[in-house]
Amino acid sequence: MNNGLLEFPTWIKLDLATYIDDFVRYLNVNYGDFFYALKATLNGLINLIYQSLNIIPWWLFILIVIFVTKKLLGSYRKGFLYGALLFCVGTFGYWDMMNETLSIVITSVIFSLLLGLPIGVGISTSAGANGFVRPVLDAMQTMPTFVYMIPAVMLLGPGKVPAVLATVIYAVVPVIRLTSHGIQQVDKEVVEAARAFGSSRWQILAKVQIPQALPTIMTGINQTMMMAVAMVVTCAMIGANGLGMEVLIAINRTESGRGIIAGISIVILAIIIDRLTQSFSAKGDK
């Protein structure tokens, strides 16, 4: 009887979970066509990227990495190191899976940037949008990824498409934050000078703010890529094939060797992507 003071009364109950379930079901039923089309489009894109990666012979891919590294980092030593690491992935028997994983990562990054850059620019100039978007970003970053994977799977079915969706939600945050931060921290007097010389709003953005903020924006892009790679294993849980799936299978079967090798392959991918994109932000800093 006096329990009511100690325990939360059971009769006060907000059944939010049911409402959300209903809503997702409602979307599924009424907008099924839309999600079907979305799924088909995304699948097409992922496959396109996957096919293009597959067309490139393995040795050419390694050569490209070596030369791009030389171009960006100015060192053949690093180029050969990265090339050798990729070669290792091949010897593990994971070349094809790597391409599959890469196609998901690349698609996710493309969408993250397509969304993130304009949003970042937008909230840097509008205090109102900023106040609205910030808490949403915080929520996206702290919410456990599985939570939005469930509705994603319900709406789109298992596979690579919900994986891309979940990855974008997770990875888009840093590019938004750092784009807006970079633009806001551009020297006020420089922006004022641009205004004083008769620049239009667009000219200030394109010729002054974005170029001046570029090192910071590149850091954001780098972080977005890293987070996309970090989602690989999580995405495997909703049926995205590739290196992540390999890790998952190994965990289920407690095959340590297989798991570790697949894990190492993911790390190799991450390192190469990180170093190559970091070089952009470092260059801008000089």
Binding site: E189, V190, A196, F197, G198, S199, S200, P211, Q212
Partner: protein, 398 residues
């Protein structure tokens, strides 16, 4: 002769304080009754950065605006190109009120009529020197080749040839501001706004740039509104000086007038800071005589040249600018009428300044007693320039 290019009439600029009850009308009324900024802030919640300021700037002059930090100088100059929208008042550029301009007209105004130079330079570090200088031309849509040719001209004008492809970060402060000036001049504006443009520079570099500015202004005839908190700089550069105090204009006058008739104690206190040691040497204030003829030219050419230049005396030089003397209008007329020979008419007995680095202070008495501007010659009696009483007065004021 003098033509008003810029006229500021009863300019007010109020900023809202954090007080949500801030009331602009109450503030304006109080200000019109002569209340000071503190009272206005207290009673209306509005901060009066500029209150009832009026002044006029003539084409081709340097108008110096001086006041302590926070007196509203930057706010005023930012109203002159509408970076700030005035709360009340008119700003007439060549008679047209820019406070009524729409966005398009404002862009046009900033692109062609008014350019600005900033205290901390406001240069874009992702562009090199030349491309900073060309910025204004670029956003107007001028082609690359054309704007870079124009840009190079300006780079040369400020003495930065050879630096055009250097990064901004590799330049010293003085050089950065030269880039700032070149960028402003590249637009070929009628009016140049300079907000404490030299305040961030050390004294020697500052002196250099002040001189450079006078040279450029002499050459290009730009109208300049120059803001400073340094009375020496204001008097050195300004043909008119306005003193601001808490957003109100205390006095607008020429440096000479201000010295002889300071409006009140506040102005007097400012003037007490004028430091003669900071003023220029002869080199910095001498100008090329507008009417110069060769000894072999004869009296008719002398008269014609005087008429063309609207002056009443001509400087006569021999081969290689060797200085010979002066001929006045009356004497030249007498020669033509046959009353004198050319040789007799030339005044040769003149005080000369032989060292261009003589401080202006040392030639003041000489200039005061001389009938003509002082002639500056270098080794071998080569004419280098003249120093008029007026230029001495505006540079040396104690």
């Amino acid at each position: 002769m003098a033509e008003t290019i810029l006229k500021v009439k009863n300019l007010y600029k109020l900023f809202k304080s954090n007080d949500i009850t801030a009331n602009e009308d109450v503030a304006l009324k109080l200000l019109q009754e002569g209340a000071d900024a503190a009272t206005v802030l207290d009673k209306s919640g509005m901060f009066a950065a500029v209150a009832d300021v009026s002044f006029e700037v003539q084409r081709g002059e340097i108008f110096a605006l001086i006041g302590l930090s926070g007196s509203g100088k930057s706010t005023i100059i930012r109203c002159l190109n509408m970076l700030h929208t005035p709360t009340r008042g008119q700003i007439l550029v060549e008679g047209s009120d820019i406070t009524k301009y729409n966005d398009e007209q404002l862009l046009e105004l900033r692109r062609t009529k008014i350019a600005m130079v900033f205290q901390n330079f406001g240069l874009m570090s992702h562009r090199d020197v030349l491309s900073n200088v060309c910025y204004g031309l670029e956003i107007r849509g001028m082609g690359k080749a054309e704007r870079e040719a124009k840009g190079m001209e300006m780079v040369a004008m400020v003495g930065l040839e050879g630096w055009e492809h250097k990064t901004i970060d590799s330049l010293s402060g003085g050089m950065k501001q030269r880039v700032g000036i070149a960028r402003a001049l590249a637009n070929d504006p009628d009016i140049l706004l300079m907000d404490e443009a030299f305040s961030a520079l050390d004294p020697l570099v500052r002196n250099d740039l002040q001189f450079e500015l006078l040279r450029i202004q002499e050459k290009m005839g730009k109208t300049i509104v120059f803001i400073t908190h340094d009375i020496n700089e204001a008097f050195k550069l300004g043909s008119h000086v306005g003193i601001l105090r808490e957003g109100r204009m205390v006095q607008v006058a020429t440096p000479e007038q201000m010295l002889s008739q300071p409006a009140n104690d506040y102005v007097r206190k400012f003037i007490d800071n004028v430091d003669p040691s900071k003023v220029f040497s002869v080199r910095n204030i001498m100008v090329t005589p507008s009417c110069m003829i060769k000894a072999t030219d004869g009296v008719n050419i002398a008269l014609q040249s005087m008429r063309n230049n609207g002056v009443s005396s001509a400087y006569i030089v021999g081969e290689q600018m060797h200085f010979i003397g002066i001929i006045t209008l009356e004497d030249a007329l007498a020669v033509r009428a046959g009353k004198k020979t050319f040789e007799e008419a030339v005044i040769k007995d003149l005080p000369l300044i032989t060292d261009m680095d003589t401080p202006v202070a040392d030639v003041v008495e000489l200039a005061a007693s001389a009938k003509f501007p002082l002639v500056v010659v270098s080794e071998g009696n080569v004419l280098r320039g003249i120093v008029s009483k007026a230029s001495i007065l505006s540079s040396f004021c104690n």
